[in-house]
Subunit: 152 residues, 2 copies
């Protein structure tokens, strides 16, 4: 068996969304909500130099979601897709991933744009966003098909 | 306390790297190693439609790393930085994140380019890569400084 670990919150999200239905979803949804990542004093030293990065990956826990659905019905489509081809919360490991823009740091509080987690969401990790796949190289499978159908 | 979860492997990485020192690191390092993500039969249904995406996020466990260092010395620099501003394995939650290019799917095996994990690494999650931050909008803090110094 693989060596596993016990997840712990390094901090919590503060943001405008208190219910899942408040979070903009689907094609064309705005993801520019501003909020903060409030890191525990125990981990503040780990933020050293983070302010030099414009964007960060935030790993967090879907703490208000239960169960696993290997086939998920996304809000953007009327047919199911495999959970690993979606951002559904009902995942074998309920970990969320969000790219945020870092607006500024105040001690152990990061002010960010792009919050799409619920207020109070536990944060697992923060990583620097180092490079992008060029948009011209991306294929987005069922999502592009659903968007085209929605627009067509 | 936050509701947490018990991490479980959904599968394992097969790749060319058996020791940490084999993995290319630092500026200019090639990340084009080819390998496979072998998903457990229990989770194969979750891969439905994943083949439509050109790139995937892979979340995995640093299973051969111990301990936490809030200040980390990256291979690319001679001064320490906060762990949340680096990709150091010695993180409060030892979760790695890699963007891979999906070459093809064969059942529950994904052939990918961009493997930078050790052979046998447990996989926690796979997510579709949906959009990029434009390179022109990225600032890369200490890493850009270290790269400029290395080149200068």
């Amino acid at each position: 068996m693989a060596t596993m670990f016990t997840p712990k919150a390094i901090g919590f999200v503060k943001g405008p969304y208190t219910q899942t239905k408040d979070i903009p979803k689907g094609p064309g949804a705005n993801h520019d909500a501003v909020g903060t990542l409030e890191i525990s004093p125990d981990y503040e030293a780990g933020l050293t130099d983070v302010e030099g990065f414009s964007h960060l990956f935030v790993l967090w826990v879907f703490d208000r979601s239960d169960g696993v659905e290997l086939l998920a019905m996304p809000p953007t489509d009327d047919r199911p897709h495999g959970v690993f081809a979606t951002r559904s919360p009902k995942r074998p490991n309920p970990i969320g991933l969000t790219v945020v823009e870092l607006l500024r740091r105040e001690g152990r509080v990061l002010h960010v744009r792009g919050v799409d987690m619920l207020d109070g969401t536990p944060i697992l990790d923060i990583k620097p966003y180092l490079s992008s796949v060029p948009e011209s190289a991306l294929r987005r499978g069922w999502l592009a098909v659903a968007e085209a159908r929605g627009k067509g």
